[in-house]
Symmetry: C2
Subunit: 101 residues, 2 copies
């Protein structure tokens, strides 16, 4: 499992419309091969700051499969206009999960 | 539910010992009132970079309850020596989870 983290910055006043766009765009990313789940987290301390956390089966499912697909263009067309700056994206692999199931 | 995100930076060569320390420290944070779960994520692109994601029932369970407890001092004594720079901590509330269960 690979965790994609994207730090998103949305212009002041656009938060409600951005969150609605993310709901509309959710099925687009959720249909990608190797997609597992995602969540959008709204920062308590900094208005307009969000974390997008997407779980993928593999790194390539995101970086190759999704990013080179027509679905990615569709996704960015829906949510991209709200980004105040380009998203900062990094990938992570799990070192520890607690409680251990 | 509140998501705490801490961006952690660990010195080169300390990664294995740091991850072992996080396993040792896990029960210390897991015993805190209002703690739900946590995960440590290792960055694919940047060696020594980690995300610590902790889920709490409320903001205060972390910022007041845990941080002012003896358990926090114990936690920091175990994992703190590995931090190359002070952790950057922010809190988030869920705007979207997908798939919708």
């Amino acid at each position: 499992m690979i965790l994609e983290e994207a730090v998103l910055s949305v212009r002041e006043g656009d938060a409600t419309a951005f969150e609605a766009a993310m709901v509309k765009a959710a099925p687009v990313i959720a249909g990608a091969a190797g997609y597992l789940s995602h969540e959008l987290q709204r920062c308590v301390e900094t208005p307009g700051r969000y974390l997008l956390l997407v779980r993928w089966e593999t790194l390539e499912a995101h970086t190759v499969g999704f990013r080179q697909s027509a679905a990615f263009a569709e996704w960015r067309a829906i949510v991209g206009p709200f980004f105040a700056v380009p998203p900062v994206v990094e990938h992570y692999e799990t070192a520890l999960e607690w409680p251990v199931l």
